[in-house]
């Protein structure tokens, strides 16, 4: 193409003017457009600024919850019972993972992920906000950590996270005291403050771990971190560190606990040892037991089911939940009731010819000794466990006075120990029978209540409390496991102080007579448990044997318990305190199907008492505030004063 030739008609001035008008018009439009655009920026940057600054912050800042370290648990001398150890877990932040299922499948090739792990992961994922990491697997092995580390870049949003895992060094021995922690699941999360637990993986499910969960857990920390578009953390902007849970010191003595557990051996049963003055539990054993570490590690459903379904019920805490007929261990309390309520005088005697009959009835309530014990006073009645004495006494007392007097020792009532699920037992009365069984009370039931049979049900814990009450001469101790809790940061100490209750004492000689009877049980020539004092121990023990019937015994049946199959044999019971003059320990022992209290339960109690009274005088790691050793005795005058007022 060639430029067309100029036309002569052109008016250069007019064309220039036309251009100027058009250029001015265009400029006006341009300025208008810029004004609109500036208006748009004004709208975004001034009017909507708040909204966008928030969104920009949301973009770059994420709040991460920091788990608190769980408080440690020690025994009364500072020996560690529940420890935290570093471990690694595999964690996924659901928000950052596009294909969760496929990712889990791939991860399963590197790290063992069971169907249960998956199920728990999915449930927990629903319960937590999607920007929070959810554990896929706990306690990765070193090789798993190494395998993942190699492929880590392939899994954005998945990472190995160090954490603290719970370890119980003593294993089975403390399972029923400490309980265990278990991996937190969606149901647990619904029970607790979800914010506080946003970084927590484990929660106390039983025992001390559950009862003091709040104290042990601590407070969650928060960290505001800056992240980039890939979600990678670039740095911490602000940090509110977590507050570790309180360290807890139990009243338990680990060494005594160990002795008790070994003394009980393979028997199923329970042992409770308390310090009579303070109510501090020195040992609490229930057998069979289980390894709490299995729960902390993430127990499999099969393994858990096996524990639950085992006929020996290892998860069942016999010491606090087991209900046993007290048998003859109830006799000292019946005797005390008779004396104190004025039903019998101190010098009251009864002739035992082998059986007892209610007036006008033919049924014979048998003595354990077929030929009878002859004439016995209260001391010998206790020492020889003369049934006839107590049949008669119970009949004369009547069930309701028995109920009211024994209730003061805490029979039929929970001790209030700091463990969940304690059983209350049964202390029968007319009102109780009417209420529960809708039946009237029969006189014969009062008679057998006198030797601890019939409806009465006690827990080993109650038996220990009751015998400690005799040891402390009417001072009913508050049974507890927590010696002190200390704030791990500031050392702020919390030591619970419990006000004991007192049983009014009518005549101290009555109490002395009962204690004398119990002392004769062990040290008397005819004491039912004299076998355990045959070596003349350097201190004196007051005790009482008992036998809890597992099956009904016919009136005329020869009792050859040892010939029976084990599960039908009677339970052996023994309660004791020592030294008699200045009691430092009160014990109750139940050996299920052990046969006689004297032959099986009493030697176990002796071992526990021995271990405690001959223990080396180590310096306690924890200086107990307020309650120094021996302060219980120092307290006696005040206690006496308090009793006189009441």
């Amino acid at each position: 193409m060639r430029p067309p030739a100029r036309k002569p008609l052109r008016d250069a001035v007019r064309e220039a003017r036309l251009f100027r008008v058009r250029a001015m018009t265009a400029l006006a439009v341009v300025i208008g457009c810029f004004a609109v655009l500036a208006g748009r920026f004004f709208y975004l940057q001034v009017v909507k600024h708040e909204e966008f600054i928030t969104r920009s912050e949301d973009n770059r800042v994420k709040v991460r919850a920091l788990p608190p370290n769980r408080g440690l648990i020690f025994d009364r001398r500072g020996r560690i019972l529940a420890d935290n150890r570093p471990a690694y877990r595999l964690e996924m932040i659901p928000e950052q993972v596009a294909e969760i299922d496929a990712t889990l499948d791939e991860l399963a090739q590197l790290i063992a992920i069971t169907a249960e792990d998956r199920e728990r992961f999915y449930k927990l994922k629903e319960a937590r906000p999607s920007f929070q990491g959810v554990a896929v697997r706990l306690r990765l092995s070193e090789s798993e950590v190494a395998r993942f580390a190699v492929d880590r870049h392939r899994y954005p949003g998945v990472d190995i996270v160090p954490y603290q895992t719970r370890v119980y060094p003593q294993g089975e021995e403390f399972a029923h005291v400490l309980g265990y922690v278990r991996q937190l699941d969606a149901e647990d999360l619904a029970q607790v403050d979800a914010t506080e637990y946003s970084a927590t993986t484990h929660i106390g499910k039983t025992g001390i771990e559950r009862y003091y969960e709040k104290r042990l857990h601590g407070r969650v920390g928060h960290e505001r971190v800056e992240i980039n578009v890939q979600g990678r953390v670039l740095g911490s902007l602000e940090r509110a560190p977590p507050v570790a849970g309180d360290n807890i010191y139990l009243t338990i003595d680990a060494q005594l606990q160990s002795v008790a557990a070994q003394a009980l051996g393979d028997s199923t049963g329970a042992i409770v040892a308390v310090e009579p003055a303070s109510g501090e539990i020195l040992a609490l054993v229930s057998k069979p037991s289980f390894d709490p570490n299995r729960f902390a590690d993430g127990i499999s459903v099969a393994e858990y089911r096996a524990l639950v379904n085992s006929p020996e019920r290892p998860l069942f805490n016999r010491a606090t939940q087991g209900g046993y007929e007290p048998g003859s261990t109830l006799k000292p309390y019946i005797a005390l009731a008779g004396l104190e309520l004025g039903v019998i005088p101190l010098d009251h005697t009864v002739y035992s010819r082998g059986y007892y009959q209610l007036p006008g009835q033919s049924h014979r309530y048998r003595d354990w000794k077929r030929e009878g014990h002859g004439r016995v006073d209260v001391v010998q009645a206790i020492a020889q466990s003369v049934n006839v004495y107590f049949y008669e006494l119970a009949h004369e007392l009547g069930i309701d006075p028995i109920h009211d007097y024994l209730a003061q020792f805490g029979f039929g009532a929970r001790t209030g120990i700091d463990l969940n699920g304690e059983a209350s037992g049964i202390l029968p009365s007319r009102e109780w029978k009417r209420r529960v069984h809708h039946l009237p009370w029969y006189p014969g039931e009062t008679v057998i209540t006198g030797i601890g049979q019939g409806f009465t049900v006690t827990t080993p814990l109650q038996l220990a409390r009751a015998v400690a009450t005799i040891a402390a001469r009417g001072r009913v101790p508050h049974i507890h496991l927590l010696r002190q809790a200390e704030n791990s940061a500031g050392g702020d100490v919390h030591a619970p102080r419990f006000a004991p209750t007192f049983i009014p004492i009518g005549n101290a000689a009555h109490w002395q007579a009962v204690v004398d009877g119990m002392t004769q049980v062990v040290h008397g020539v005819r004491g039912t448990a004299r076998v355990i004092a045959s070596d003349n121990p350097p201190y004196r023990i007051a005790g009482k044997t008992g036998t809890a019937q597992v099956r009904a015994i016919a009136e005329d049946e020869e009792r050859e318990d040892e010939e029976l199959p084990r599960h039908l044999r009677n339970h052996a019971l023994f309660i004791a305190f020592a030294p008699v003059e200045r009691p430092q320990i009160a014990v109750s022992v139940i050996a299920e199907h052990g046969g006689g209290g004297a032959s099986v339960a009493a030697p176990i109690a002796r071992q526990v008492i021995d271990a405690w009274l001959t223990r080396g005088e180590e310096e306690p790691a924890v200086a107990r505030q307020g309650l120094r050793p021996g302060s219980a005795d120092a307290c006696r005058p005040d206690c006496g004063a308090a009793r006189e007022e009441s």
Partner: protein
Amino acid sequence: MSRAVGRSLPLAALRYFVSRPMVDGGLLVALLVCAAVGLMILYSASGSDLSAIGKQCVRLGLGVAVLLIIARIPPQQMRNWTPAFYAAGMVLLVLVEAIGEGRGAQRWLDLGLIRFQPSELMKLAAPMMLAWYLHGRVLPPRIRDVALCLVMVAVPAVLIARQPDLGTAVLVAVSGLFVLFLAGMSWRLIGTLVALVAALAPVLWHFMHDYQKSRILMLIDPESDPLGTGWNIIQSKIAVGSGGLYGKGWLNGTQAHLEFLPERSTDFILAVYAEEFGLLGIVCLFVLYLFIIGRALSIATRAKDSYCRLLAGSLSLTFCVYVLVNGGMISGLLPVVGVPLPLVSYGGTSLVSLLASFGVIMSVYSHRRLLGGQGVHR
């Protein structure tokens, strides 16, 4: 002028360039200030990447050299070369259609030493061609002339749109329409054309690529796909909005530095600027752009003939369209089209071609009609 250059040694030529730059000082300073602002934001947007700054400086130097050279070419000369230039551009466009390469779209032509987009050439060639055509006509143009001009601009625009590069196609078309508008095309005709485009819009929609459609849909509701196609608009708006009145400060833009903002050194660089310098910074930048456009338009009005007027005017207005489209895009007013922010966005082709077009405007300036009716060199 060609005689003077021909006699000189290169050194003498350089001295001559510097001593008599033959440019509008004010405009050149405004352009350089604008480019300097660009380098500053680029430093922040690229994450303090000095090598990127270095590259951009080299391109800026090249662009300024091109500007200074073109500024010395008399408009008459350019007018003479216009048909050939236009024809060459068309040939290259057809070549791209046949053998071009590029990511997702065929835009690039590899010439061994440099790879460049012939469509960039057409941004200059199309308005030149129309100005050349109308230069010889009585203005305002008659319908037949307008029709012919429309064809001359539509053909390259369609070819570019087919690459597909809708942004550049629109810019080429617009630069041609600006020539017609400035030439005094009757308002009635403009109205008719606008009505025609509006009527054809649904048809155009039908021929659009899916990604182009989604960009337009995203504009209406970016939140409907916040992690996909809506991401750019949302993050850009967050960057702009969170900047506020005064901005977060240079190098403090979190949207950019934490990589939430995509394309932050190229098409979305204005969002980085808005985040770090706030509304005040934006207004200052707009004033700078308005100054450049106003200055360029005033040069056009004082040009000595139709060709110069139309070409300079069209180029100034096209420059303005760049700014407005880019600004509209990052603030969520317009769809995401690949239009860089002139003189600021990272990238060589656009910078050099823009400075080349300002070279043309400078040439018009230095060969303007003076009060005495004389050119500078006559």
